[in-house]
């Protein structure tokens, strides 16, 4: 026992010494984040406890008043449900499509680099501009899609004006811009899977799909978690495209939490309530990600 204790103690002392020497490395980043990000974040959190009307600059401390008001509103829960639906559909689509394409690229012998470059292009377009591009495709009657269908003799549905189609359009808009991100990362991940493992499986007679789902995907699980987490977070904050494409409409079919936050902050000028909504968004986002991580590692837990 004593023999074991000494190395452990020494290791811990080494660890503390190491940490002590490494803290300076955190200073530049910490300085920037502390001075630039923490103040606005803290201020926004602080404001969420007030009734703050931007125009007249009146403030009134109401502690959790904003939060309770929001949690009792139908508008909050409805937009939350809608947002969750859109986020899950979009990220699901991006992941499946991204994986399929990444795997296809993995098995392709010629032209992989060219495809990678071309497929990444939609991700480069500035989001405000991407929204405009997509509007020119989906707008009723003269958008490319509708006009094209009309030219061929079909009568197209109203992609932005019909609630069902509007939701699909919004999901497609998100997928268009962010599937490239998935493709790039998943493709790289697939490339790191140990060749020996693959060859062993192939000798055992594994087909291409078994190879993918039973060998390769489990091997890159941390990468999948990382990429899904990032996408869920960002999809929750998705704003520009919805604002330009449907403005939350038709009716309220695509009104998401972020659109409601925007309306609260810039149209109703209720900054306190908007900040509270921001905090709630953060909580929901974090919970979803936690659930996702739990789901992915669930089988592992059972084995343990």
């Amino acid at each position: 026992m004593a023999a074991l204790a000494a190395p452990t103690l020494a290791r811990r002392r080494l660890k503390t010494a190491l940490h002590g020497r490494l803290w300076p490395f955190l200073v530049p980043s910490g300085l920037v984040i502390g001075c630039v990000l923490l103040y606005p974040l803290g201020y926004a959190l602080y404001l969420s406890l007030f009734r703050y009307e931007l125009g007249t600059n009146t403030q009134e401390f109401i502690f959790l008043g904003n939060y309770s008001a929001l949690l009792q509103e139908a508008r909050f829960w409805e937009s939350l449900a809608r947002t969750t639906g859109i986020v899950l559909s979009a990220v699901g689509l991006e992941f499946s499509l991204g994986l399929a394409i990444a795997y296809g690229l993995y098995r392709l012998t010629y032209g992989v680099r060219v495809f990678n470059m071309l497929l990444f292009l939609p991700h480069i377009v500035t989001p405000v501009v991407a929204a405009l591009f997509l509007r020119w495709i989906f707008m009723g009657r003269w958008g490319l899609l509708s006009a094209g269908l009309l030219g061929l003799g079909f009568f197209p549905p109203d992609f932005l004006g019909n609630p069902f189609w509007a939701r699909i359009t919004v999901v497609l808009a998100d997928a268009w811009q962010f599937t490239p991100f998935m493709i790039l990362v998943l493709y790289a991940g697939l490339n790191t899977v140990d060749q020996s493992q693959i060859e062993a499986a192939q000798i055992d007679g594994a087909g291409i799909w078994t190879l993918l789902f039973h060998i390769m995907l489990p091997a890159i699980r941390p990468l999948i978690v990382f990429v899904l987490a990032i996408r869920i977070m960002d999809a929750f904050r998705f704003f520009d495209q919805i604002y330009v494409l449907t403005s939350g409409g038709p009716g309220t079919a695509t009104e998401t939490i972020t659109m409601y936050t925007y309306a609260l902050a810039f149209r109703l000028l209720e900054i306190g309530k908007a900040s509270a909504l921001g905090v709630l968004t953060l909580i929901v986002s974090a919970s979803l990600i936690a659930l996702m991580i739990a789901a992915i590692y669930w089988r592992e837990r059972e084995r343990i």
Partner: protein, 274 residues
Amino acid sequence: MRRRAVPQILLFGALAAFTAINLTPILWAFLTSIKQPVDAFSVPPTIIFAPTLEFHTQVWVEKEFWRFLINSAVISISTVTISVSCGTLAAYALSRMRGRSSRMLLFGLLAMRMFPLILLAIPFFVLAKTLGLINTYPAMILALVAINQPFTIWLMRSFFVDVPHELYEAAAIDGCNVWQVFSRVALPMVRPGLGVTALFSLLLSYNEFLFALVLTGPNTKTLPVAIAEYGGEDINYWSLSAAAAVGIMLPIVAFMMALQRHLVRGIALGAVKG
């Protein structure tokens, strides 16, 4: 591993078809930018027309977008340099610290990323105003660096985590001080990762709109803000914004083509271990 010819052709065809559909919005925007408005939004779509470069020249010369490109370039390059530097240092430290404090820091960083950006616009503005930094480069650069840190640190950390401990121990035995261990051992091993992180940082800072709207002024206006100013009220404006939008993509595409080689290898080597 032998791959048979017929499935390869099918695969190539499928990917090509998908890519073509995927690029349609961009291609259509490009076509819009060289058409007269009456043809750009017609029903049925006009395929045969007399192209014009008037909108492109208008955008870059008359509307002085070249000026905004300079602003965007200065801000983006500064942001990437500072952000990747600071982030890499922090990521190195966090990759070697395995205690609870480091994990809390990491999750705190992630949480910061989940907060809606639009709510930070006003406090940022107030802060910048107080320091007299509106319409200056530092305001935008600092804001972008700060916003960028969480993602940068997480990504770089995952590269550092792959560096084998033995290398650190060997370097310590060789008598390297803390900085030398970092610069001579860790940094060279994550070089591909730096390229990837730089690319994503560049994309973020180049395309950022809301903060640019709030923090920049006439002297420091960036391209996204300039483009958004032509959002509506006259079809001519739409043709202009199409021309501008297509134009501003080019610098990034060029940058990507230069960095292409490192991209895939970089992500492959790093982010796998999460």
